[in-house]
Symmetry: C2
């Protein structure tokens, strides 16, 4: 049914229909080349020209036809993204790790397959799902202010709801405060992965029990924040604290940094929990999991990756096959990231969820090496 | 930079990287033809063979090369989806509205560009974003039980959180109750667009103030449900009530039925609100909007479409250009769906959100024809 050239294209997604109504017209790639072939001669100019420059750092173009098609698909994703954000003054380029080794070294590119975004004097690595959707959303997030200001109780509720994210909030005298300035500088170094908020309102600060120039650090899914010691805090203080406390006890797998998260295993394994938040059983299981995470957040070696299968529908059948589990119901297991071997906590059915205590015992067995993914 | 055959491909998205770690391997199309060319001779066999059959109903393949490429991309999306769900016993096919007009008529296919899913004796129309992601998620949702059972207070919290969806919940004696059976039959007719829940627990029913065999209907974003009159309710009673109350005062645009929602305009216009729920200003604006919707849900002509720009990053620059608005902050306007002309409520900046009263006055002006999208 399909002509040859289409045979090896890897997964792709959006196909715009042409509705009679206007207002939902998905962009189609117009065929114009926007992605630069970066080399020794043009990289400086490119860096100067755009407010942001995205460089895809890739291994040399392979001989195999299949891998070549894959590379061409990546180019297309970048071309489409470049077209969509063209008016936002964002440039795109590709850097070959062999041919352009010198440029790569100068620019500090290290991980093949990552996209590096140059913005002012910062470099941000994107090691997530290389889809036009995810990449464009990431770039637009980078264009927002690094610190969001919370001005009233309603906005504070929005802040309270973001339990999935690592976030910080500080109370400062005003926008002109030098301590707020340091906070903003630190925020830029973690944007958009870690969210920074500030308030200048006494009433909001009171609600948060924040004193002036104090900054609270919220680990995902924890009920209480940690107040960062020392105040006022310099940019360096903040960066140091965040860097040290960055790996949470429980984190949700996100498209924008999924590969980075997966690479951040502990001794070659991940504890992985599958739970669909929109499903009552999944929600119940997740609440039990959060309770266990809260009770054990002091354990430095405990890091659980929660995957909501709804976020990755194309991976569901793959995971079900690889891990031999039914993802229509909650699951928790240990996965070996080298070979994807795994072992899963037994539950008879979705009504047979473990209690917090049972889950804790199982996790203890995992950490002590009694449960091994083989 | 790109070879010719790639030039006209419309928007696509996922490109799997090849990480050294295992466990996140996105499927790539393997080149095998799985999508059937449906015709008079094979459609009956196909319907019998699979537990679900997805038919893409399309206009005749056009002469223009560009439109041909688009058609091929659609085929690829279907091929990839077919490959991913192959082991779930789901078949795929294409029906040409000209060549296969007779089959289309027999099967009741009407809207070109839609996918029709045949499952047992039901036909479900999918008029959403034709991406492998969205389609696969939709199909997996269709495989779940049509009614979710709520067994305890924690699961009830999951139900409470789903304010974006139209949902029903009924209290029945047991799984064997004939009234529960009728409820399940009705659920199948709206799956997966409308969510059905049931409880057999007195304590859960009490929390919901539900009497035996009573069913509550929750409109999105409303605080209080409506009890469906008459009890016990037959399948027909339920279907009739839902059909009549299906268009809500405020609804969120979702990928899985975005085109259907957009076609459901009122006299050629939509009131459209853009608000990023993850953003404090967006959240605040949305809360005001919900308040106005709750106060005015009695107005039959009031139907507001809320779009969270985060859900459609590729459309953001298009919308900003078409509607001449800044989507980094909340917006509300009237859009003419014929030509995408629009007019937007003036706000100086993101701190200048309208009060509920101001928003209500503006909406009143819209409904009375004082605000016109030109």
């Amino acid at each position: 049914m399909l002509s040859l050239w289409l045979l090896l294209l890897p997964c792709l997604s959006l196909v715009p229909l042409a509705p009679a109504e206007k207002g939902l017209d998905f962009p189609q790639y117009d065929g114009k080349d926007r992605v630069l072939d970066i080399n020794d001669k043009n990289y400086k100019k490119a860096l100067k020209k755009y407010s942001m420059l995205c460089l895809f750092y890739h291994e040399p173009i392979p001989d195999s036809k299949e891998l070549q098609k894959r590379h061409q698909m990546t180019e297309l994703v970048l071309e489409l993204a470049a077209q969509v954000v063209e008016e936002k003054d964002i440039g795109f380029g590709m850097v070959d790790s062999n041919k352009d080794a010198k440029v790569a070294k100068k620019l500090g590119l290290e991980e093949e397959g990552s996209v590096y975004i140059f913005k002012a004097d910062r470099v941000i690595e994107f090691d997530g799902l290389l889809s036009a959707n995810t990449l464009v959303e990431f770039l637009l997030d980078l264009m927002e202010e690094p610190v969001e200001v919370i001005g009233n109780a309603l906005e504070l509720r929005a802040f309270d709801r973001m339990e999935e994210d690592i976030r910080l909030i500080g109370y400062f005298k005003s926008e002109d405060s030098e301590h707020y300035e340091a906070f903003k500088e630190a925020a830029e170094q973690f944007q958009p992965y870690i969210k920074f908020f500030a308030t200048f309102e006494k009433s909001v600060a009171k609600e948060l029990t924040l004193r002036l120039n104090e900054v609270d650090f919220y680990e995902p899914f924890m009920e209480e924040p940690v107040t960062i010691p020392g105040k006022p805090l310099s940019e360096e203080d903040l960066v140091e604290f965040i860097t040290e406390h960055r790996r949470p006890t429980l984190r949700k797998l996100r498209a924008e940094d999924m590969f980075e998260t997966w690479e951040d295993d502990i001794e070659g394994i991940h504890i992985v929990a599958f739970a669909e938040e929109e499903d009552p059983d999944g929600y119940e299981f997740l609440e039990i999991l959060k309770e266990v995470a809260r009770d054990n957040t002091h354990l430095p070696d405990l890091s659980i990756v929660w995957i909501d299968p709804d976020d990755f529908p194309l991976l569901i059948p793959y995971w079900e096959k690889t891990f031999k589990v039914d993802l229509f119901r909650p699951q928790i297991g240990v996965v070996n990231v080298t070979d994807a071997d795994s072992v899963w906590l037994e539950m008879d059915d979705e009504e047979d969820l473990p209690s917090a205590q049972e889950l804790e015992d199982w996790i203890e067995d995992v950490l002590s090496g009694k449960v091994i993914a083989t």
